[in-house]
Symmetry: C2
Amino acid sequence: MSAPLQNDTFLRACLRQPTDHTPVWLMRQAGRYLPEYRATRATAGSFMGLATNKDFATEVTLQPLERYPLDAAILFSDILTVPDAMGLGLSFAQGEGPRFAHPLRDEAAVMALQVPDLDKLRYVFDAVTSIRRALNGRVPLIGFSGSPWTLACYMVEGAGSDDYRLVKSMLYGRPDLMHRILDINAQAVAAYLNAQIDAGAQAVMVFDSWGGVLADGAFQAFSLAYTERVVRALKREADGRRVPVIVFTKGGGLWLEQIAGIGADVVGVDWTVNLGRARAAVGDRVALQGNLDPNVLFAPPEAVAHEAVALLDSFGPPQRPDGTWDGHVFNLGHGISQYTPPEHVAALLEAVHAHSRRQRQPMSHGG
Amino acid sequence: MSAPLQNDTFLRACLRQPTDHTPVWLMRQAGRYLPEYRATRATAGSFMGLATNKDFATEVTLQPLERYPLDAAILFSDILTVPDAMGLGLSFAQGEGPRFAHPLRDEAAVMALQVPDLDKLRYVFDAVTSIRRALNGRVPLIGFSGSPWTLACYMVEGAGSDDYRLVKSMLYGRPDLMHRILDINAQAVAAYLNAQIDAGAQAVMVFDSWGGVLADGAFQAFSLAYTERVVRALKREADGRRVPVIVFTKGGGLWLEQIAGIGADVVGVDWTVNLGRARAAVGDRVALQGNLDPNVLFAPPEAVAHEAVALLDSFGPPQRPDGTWDGHVFNLGHGISQYTPPEHVAALLEAVHAHSRRQRQPMSHGG
C-alpha cells in the first residue's frame, strides 16, 4: 500500500504532460558536497557500507530533500553493483574511485561471465522499498543502473580510464568477446531495473556514462543497441502508473536523434547540447533532461540563477503554440561536484522554479 | 631558397583541390611509440630538452617519415610554449604531464599577463627553419599552437584537469578576467603562428583540445570567438602558395557548422563525428581532417585496415558528381598512443593510400 504521490511534476514532465513548473533534481544530489552526507558516511565507514545498508541508504537519499525543494529522489547506490554481483570484486580505494579485483582480461574470464543471481543485489531492492516508504509520497523515486557498455568499460579496464585502451582493444580486436559481455550485461541490467521497479522505483534511468568515448558506428553497435535491449525489456507500469525510462549518454549529443528512437521516455543530455535545438530535433518524441554544467555552481548565486534562466529560455515554454506539451526535466549535465557550496544549490532551485513558473504565464513567457 | 615540394597532396586536399590519394598524417606522429624517438629523448634528457634544441627537434620530426609514407610532417613542439614564454614556468614532471609553476589564480596575476616577447620563442622558429631544410621538399611542414581557450585552461588550472573547476569558476564567476586572458592569448597565438609561417611552416593548425569541455554558449563566447580572431589574423600565403589553416576542437562535433564558419580551410574532427554527415554539412566550405579512434591501432593489422577503409567509405570519393572536389585529410581523432605497435601504423597507411586510390577509379569507387 503506497502513500499517494503529492508532487508528480517530475513524472508528468517525463511523459510530456502539462506541469506548472519545470521539475528539477540533480545527478548525485545525495553526496559529498553535503556535510550531513559526509557525517553519515563517516559513521558507515565506507561508500559500500552506505550503499549496502538500507537504513544508511535511506538516510542519505533523503538528505538533499530536507534542504531543497527537489522534485525527485534518486536511489543512493552505485552503477557498479551489477558487475560486483557477477563476482568481479568491487572496492573503493580511498580517493581513487572504483576498482575491480577480477577484471575481464582474457577469453576464459569472458566465457565464465554469467547473469548474476539477483538475490546478491537484494540490498539494493531493500533500499528502494525502504526509501519509498520514507518518502511517503513526497516526490517520486528514481532507480538506476549503468548501461551495458559503461559496465563493460569498468569490467574490462578494472577501474576508471583516460584512454579506454583495454576495452577498445577488445572491441576492435575481439568483437565477439565484447558482444558476449554486452549481451550478458543487457540481460542483467534489465532484470536489475525490473526488480527495482517491483521494489518501488517510479522511474528508472540508464547511465551510459562512457558511451561518448566511442567512435561513431561503434557507439551504435556496442552501446546503443544494448541499451535499447534493456529499455525494450523493462516493465513500464507500476501501481497503475507509467514508469518513465530515462537514458543518458554523456557525450552523446551527436547521436541524440538515434538515442531518442530506442523507446525511452526521456533522453538526458550534457551541457554541450543546445537545448533549444535538441527540443526542435526530438521534443515531440521524448522529453529532455539536463543540462547545466555542474561547474556553474562554483559561480556566485546571481550568476548561477542567470545561467539557469538562460537554460530554461533556451528550451522555451514547454507548451507549444498548438497547445501540446514538450517535456523538460531540469538537471545538471553530469553529477554535482563534491566542492559545490550547498547554498548555491538553493539559488539554482529557486531560479528554476520561479522562472519556469513565469514561463508558463501567457503574458510573459520566455522573458 | 626552398627546395620544390615533391608531394603536395596534403596541401591540395586542405584546399579541396584534386588529389590522386587521400593524404594522411597522424597527430603526435613523432612520439613515444617509436623506439628511435625514445632513444633521442633519452639523449636529450627531457621533453623540453628535445623541444628547445633545433637539432633534436629536427631529428624526431623526421623519424616517422623514415618509417612511413606520411604525406605531411608536423613540427615537434608542445602547445604550452606560449604560456611558458609569458613567464608561467612550464615543466614536465616524470609521468605526470605538464605543470606551470605560476598559474593564474587571482586578479593581480591576470592583470600582469602580457603578450610575450617572441624572441623567447626563437627556439621554435629555429626548429621550423631547420626541419624545413631537412625535409628538403619531401612533404609539407605543419606548424601549430594551442587555441587561446586551451592555453587558458592550463594557465589557470596549472596542469591537466578532469573537472576544469578552477578555469570554469573564473569563466562563470569573473568572465572579465577570462576575457582578458583570452584576448592576450589570441594576440600571442596569432603572432606565434605568423612567425612559424615566416620561418617556413607551410600549413598551421590550432589545437582547441579542451574546447569540447565547454557548455554550448560558453564554447562560442570563450573558445570559438578567440580562435576566430587568431585565424583572421594569420598570413595566408608564403612562397607564393596558400598556407592552409586547420582548426581542431576535440569534442566539438556538435558545433561543426559554426567552426566551419570562422575562416579556416580545414576543420579537424574527432572519432565521434560521422564523416559522411560532416561532409554533407560543411564539405563545400572546408576540408575535413580525421578521424580514426587511435585505439583502433591496438587491433590486429587486418582490423586496422578494415576500419580505415570504412572511414574512407564514410567520407566517400572526394570528387563529387558535378566534378568539383571536397577535401579529406586522413588522421586520427586524437594523438597516437604511446602504446601503439609501430607495425600497425604501417598497415594503416598502406590501407589509406591503397583504398583511397581505388576510390578515385571511376569503375570501382566507394567499394
